[in-house]
Assembly symmetry: C2
Homo-oligomer: 150 residues x 2
DNA sequence: CACATATAGTTAGCTTAGCTAACTAATTTC
DNA sequence: GAAATTAGTTAGCTAAGCTAACTATATGTG
């Protein structure tokens, strides 16, 4: 009879999403740090693990961070032996970054540890809510990445 | 025929959600700061605007932050005349916080400004995706708040 | 009642993560 | 081959989180 969807105003959705993201990340920080990888480090490392070797600029772009920020993150991860720099044979200004074996192991461990937190919590949601969260994550990624936020 | 839902492993959902939240907030930071309120300030102010006057400990708990962190956020917002401290008549150790008129106005302005960013982007999504984001925000909030992440 | 303990908030000081500006070195372009 | 561009780093700033230690008030108990 009534085909209208009760559609919360976009500004409300935006506010709630914003606050929810802030609080969720605050909450996850402890778990992250206990695993030996900060959130930003884990996120960058996952790009390297899944995306394969790439140079610093590409990684910074993928993570939507400025080069100096990524440079520091990489320096720290390198100091812990988690990533390796190789000179780029095709451009001697550049470097190629890739995870070390230790880096991959650490990433898996952090992932496991997050499993006892976020993914444990997610796993306890009804299946359809899990699917919803997955889709929401994809949408958030697209929003963060797209031109709509300029 | 096949009733099985293709259910991404919870760890994958967790990873994607984690990275998506990090990137979305990074992306929003500029807009936030251009509006004169940082993300954490806007979030705390919204709690005061919608939740009414409360003391510092309650606000810190609502924002899932330690008291010293909230104390600093409040001090900064107070310096800009956005929130007011009143002594708590029932406990002279405590303070009661409430937004000033300027604070409410600033909150609305930040909200508007975010409208030109996040909520503009959200408004351009299909209606069902908007509803999905709203539900996802509620779930994230519940996860951040609940005991599941201990 | 007095003293011990607990609680609300602040201060001090540390860390991490973001940024811009300025620099070096290599590459590309004209 | 000189000029302009690009990749990455260094230096230095700010914001936001934390713990530890402190002050002042409340509360509870012998």
């Amino acid at each position: 009879m009534c085909e209208r969807v009760v559609n919360p105003p976009a500004a409300d959705v935006a506010d709630r999403l914003h606050s929810a993201a802030i609080r969720l990340l605050r909450r996850l920080r402890r778990q992250d740090e206990a695993s030996g990888l900060s959130g930003p480090q884990a996120s960058a490392l996952s790009v390297l693990v899944f995306g394969g070797p790439m140079n610093l600029g590409a990684l910074a772009a993928a993570e939507q961070v400025r080069p100096p920020t990524m440079s520091r993150l990489v320096r720290e991860m390198e100091a812990f032996g988690l990533v390796q720099r190789r000179p780029d044979p095709r451009d001697r200004r550049g470097v190629i970054l890739e995870p070390t074996e230790k880096g991959r192991a650490m990433f898996d461990r952090a992932r496991e540890r997050r499993l006892s937190a976020l993914s444990g919590a997610i796993a306890s949601l009804p299946v359809e809510d899990q699917a919803l969260m997955d889709r929401a994550a994809a949408l958030m990624m697209a929003l963060a990445r797209g031109p709509a936020l300029d």
